[in-house]
Amino acid sequence: MGFKIMGEEKVTVHISKELYEKAKKYVEESEGEFKSVDEFVEFVLKEVLSEEVEEKVFTKEEEEKIKERLRALGYI
């Protein structure tokens, strides 16, 4: 179920209590770097997803052209 905070739509995600407690401890010891567990979790997820979702260095068209050459050379 979504809801809005400061105009931005948010959703509820469930995590284990154990993980929540660890995150809460981290936030408390973060010396103000994170104000809440919500903020900390959002930060970590953003970091992980930015590593996983790589900006493609080639377009679909370029990819097909390159694959053609790779096939001709026997790499694929």
Binding site: E54, V57, F58, L70, Y75
Partner: protein, 382 residues
């Protein structure tokens, strides 16, 4: 997943289509600067993103920081300046803001915007990069013969330098597509300037055990006398991979780039380049990019500690030898036996045998590789 390009973005300075036609016409009116084969290779490498994030030859600010801090001015790791040397006569009358045409033999390679013209202290360069000014070091000797000024600026590639091994030339954008097509998430890059002996094979297969694929990427281009010729290396690897590597486990491609013999600093440069090709790991063996006794056997390992932000994982693999008691190829970390049981694969010994047309034993080199090498009248650079 494949590594992000160094600096975050794969550089592309290749001009195509109508813009290329226009610039080719423009280039005819520009002052021409003729470059060596090594520099021509650098031009192509810059343009195709091999040297990402570099977009041209280094300006003074980057040159200085790389020399003294081993980082670009924006703090991105980089260990060897990529520079274009010219004589005063070649650029007389030219100033910052002017364009030049870079030419190799009869090929118009690129247009360069001169952003900086500066002097360099070649001895200081050698001291920092090669850790010596001894002219017996091939990199030092080559540097001292270079011209007195450096010019820095972005380039626009109009034509690639011709590649004798075109069939094996892949650019970073191509290897990235290839690794993705193969569904490889982890790729170990292997740099070499030699034909493969059993020690090399061991190191490569040790790495391959832990990653999805191996990228064997020998350097072709300028090398010192008595190193193996490019064609010998290519044919030797063809024989090795065909006969001894699991199908589809290896991508073999050549990298046209001069060998600098700069040991530790060059190990980092080699790692960065393979990161740009998409490798997630880089194999660093004994005396990487070394020559003679200029560097310690594992000196090129230590330098990686200075770059926790390099973005490619070094795989430090010790030199392999044959242990008669273990009954196979091992390294000193995993073999408990005394020296009397250890048979080392010596590059020098191999060279002597090959020069005298003697077949090295199988524990040193695969027979199919030996056959390829011995078919060459003279397999060594003169």
């Amino acid at each position: 997943m494949v590594s992000k390009p160094h600096g975050g973005k794969l550089v592309n300075r290749v001009v195509t289509g109508r813009r290329r036609e226009y610039l080719l016409k423009e280039a005819k009116e520009l002052r021409k600067v003729s470059v060596s084969e090594s520099l021509a290779a650098d031009v192509s490498n810059i343009a195709h993103g091999v040297y990402s994030p570099l977009e041209g030859f280094m300006v003074y600010n980057d040159y200085y920081h790389v020399l003294y801090d081993m980082r670009l001015a924006n703090d991105i790791p980089w260990t060897i300046p990529i520079v274009l040397d010219v004589s005063r006569e070649e650029i007389s009358g030219l100033k910052e803001g002017d364009d030049i045409a870079i030419v190799f033999k009869n090929t118009m390679l690129a247009i360069m915007e001169i952003e900086d013209i500066y002097k360099w202290d070649k001895k200081e360069f050698c001291k920092k990069v090669f850790k010596t000014v001894d002219v017996r070091h091939p990199g030092v000797a080559k540097t001292m013969r270079r011209k007195e000024l450096l010019i820095g600026g972005s380039i626009y590639l109009l034509n690639d330098v011709p590649e004798p091994f075109e069939r094996y030339r892949l650019w970073p954008i191509e290897t990235r597509v290839l690794f993705e097509a193969k569904r490889w998430r982890t790729i170990a890059g292997f740099q070499t300037r030699n034909v493969p002996h059993r020690g090399h094979e061991y190191v490569q297969k040790a790495a391959l055990t832990f990653v999805d694929g191996l990228f064997v990427n020998p350097l072709v281009g300028w090398k010192k006398p008595r190193d193996y010729k490019d064609e010998v290396i290519v044919r030797a690897y063809e024989a090795l991979i065909e006969n001894y590597y699991p199908k589809d486990s290896v991508v073999f491609s050549v990298l046209r780039m001069e060998m600098r013999y700069a040991g530790p600093r060059e190990a980092i440069l080699h790692a960065i380049v393979r990161k740009n090709f998409g490798c997630t790991h880089f194999i660093v063996g004994r005396d990487h990019a070394g020559v003679g006794n200029f560097y310690g056997p594992y000196e090129a390992w230590d330098i990686f500690n200075e770059f926790p932000d390099l973005g490619i994982i070094p795989m430090f693999i010790r030199e392999a030898f044959y242990c008669m008691k273990c009954g196979g190829f091992v390294n000193e970390k995993i073999c408990p036996h005394e020296e009397e049981y250890r048979v080392k694969v010596s590059g020098t010994k191999l060279r002597k045998m090959i020069l005298s047309k003697e077949k090295p034993p199988e524990y040193m080199m695969r027979p199919e590789v030996v056959e390829v090498i011995l078919n060459f009248e003279n397999p060594f650079v003169e």
